[in-house]
Point group: C2
Chain length 342, copies 2
Amino acid sequence: MLHSLIQLLNLLMSEVTLKKLAGMLQLSISTVSRALKDHPDISIETKTKVKELSVLLDYEPNTFAINLRSNHCKEFGIIVPTITNDFYQSFISSLENEVRQYGYSLIILQSGDDPIIELANLKLCKQNRMAGIFVSITSKTTDINNFLKLDEHHIPVIFFDKVPSFEACNKVCVADEAAADMAAKELMLKKKKNILSIFGNPELLITQKRLKSFEDTVSGYGLSTQLYIHYALSSDEAREITMNSFKKVIKPDAIFCMTDEILMGVMKAIQQLELRTPQDVGVIAISDGFKPTLYYPEITYIETSGFKLAKLAFARMLACLGGSSYAQELRIESIVVSGGSL
Amino acid sequence: MLHSLIQLLNLLMSEVTLKKLAGMLQLSISTVSRALKDHPDISIETKTKVKELSVLLDYEPNTFAINLRSNHCKEFGIIVPTITNDFYQSFISSLENEVRQYGYSLIILQSGDDPIIELANLKLCKQNRMAGIFVSITSKTTDINNFLKLDEHHIPVIFFDKVPSFEACNKVCVADEAAADMAAKELMLKKKKNILSIFGNPELLITQKRLKSFEDTVSGYGLSTQLYIHYALSSDEAREITMNSFKKVIKPDAIFCMTDEILMGVMKAIQQLELRTPQDVGVIAISDGFKPTLYYPEITYIETSGFKLAKLAFARMLACLGGSSYAQELRIESIVVSGGSL
DNA sequence: TTGAAAGCGCTAACAG
DNA sequence: CTGTTAGCGCTTTCAA
């Protein structure tokens, strides 16, 4: 009887609020509010009465009101050039899992590698007073002052993967140089003599670092190794380069691919040329680890895990939220995953 | 002089609000509010005065207050089993682009194919009064009442891809049967006689539908075609099946792959067996279109585009938000993309 | 142990 | 053309 009455009321009231609970219980709003939060001042009887009704009516606090009052919300923004990329995909997937454990949500914002859209996204984050932001900047982003300004507004910004060179900001990245260094070492161990080395956009800092490290390591071995350095901005360019390399008199005995995208182009060429790995040519890549498992034998790669990086980025975010000093650069170490292609 | 004074004030005030603008201009809050919104009642002079100052001080309306007042926000939730999947990835990427055009944001929620987490995510969407929700349900979701309840709260729910069988809800999906039918037709056109056909989880509705359609089409041609039907729950199972099939006396002259995952396993086996496509064996898949381009020759596939589906889903969402009647099932047609593998 | 009241920032009905 | 006022739902100080 009482129950059906309640149900009726429940139907009539679109939203259950503290006010309504208070009205039904003949209590003040503040008492209800405190009872729900187990405030020590409130008597046990009142607490149970309030809680029972709130459960019965399925009361849910209004997030908008809470946000307004507290002036912050439990949402993080993540700005990336595009999510259609194995690395970002695993990063985002992992990050979503992390933030959920802590009661936060994750808002996806793609810049399309366009600094204008990136800026608009940034503005949105600021306007929505997000709890914090994760950013992988576009290849054309030059001015990071707009990002730094958010820190003034107490919105921590964690740069990941594609990070600015500016020092006083929070960055987490994979071990750029170390990864190239490891790849070079693997190639040296296998005594490769003619290495087709395909790197990405030469204007990016990451490319320059990796190239330098790669060359240094190779020359450090003092062997008569010949490096053929190329840059590919797309999978197709990498394929072309590979095809052309095998038309030469001296053919490569190994190929180094700086990215997944390059690996894809290279593998297509290898299939087209009907070459076998590792017999005809060895292949090694720097990769997140998805693409290398698509081939037989699987591709040997230096792992730069988006999963791990996300965990690190989130840990750093929590530290910032907890009031940590505002500038740190963190890296995760890479490991070699042997697939049999080298 | 005035400028530097303003800057000083700017620094002192953490947040610029209507109240502060009003105070500085000796106007009432409501006048400032209306001026900023180009309300016809306000005089030109006042408008310009207000706008100039707001620009100068970089005024941004407080989203939390607006949300509280209007009782809704400009955010959509998207719940998927996992984002690490080409199809969802392209869906989400495309959807994010769409919603941004309309001033909305997209919140990512992964269920991990776990109905419990899915429910928790759903609750979050309700609690945060999201503008609408896109859902691809888990393989174990049986009760969709919780989803339907959101419609009562005026939160439209659009199911996509993995949709419930319940009729009175909004669904957008790829053409399940038609895709399998098209694949079968392609195989028949090429006069394939021994077709290794690998399907996904036999318990899923989509698998059953595709299998039936596939078989019907093949038998409709009345040719002496032999179908070898298998189910693979993982890439590796698909690889095993393929390896075993080629140990038999009668070897397949074509392979049909119901999903990207199956395709990956099949291709690995083909590389391991050092078979060439299409000479030794033809391959056709149902795919979103990323994986097929990784091989040479590229794989012929029936496209089930996440990009297109997202556009359709968003259009449906807008219609619902605009007050459209609440139950419609939409499908997008597939097309054949010839890659040279068949 | 409980209640009254103010205020977060914004909008809008109503009043001048 | 502009101002006053009330209110969205919640928290929190102050008062009883």
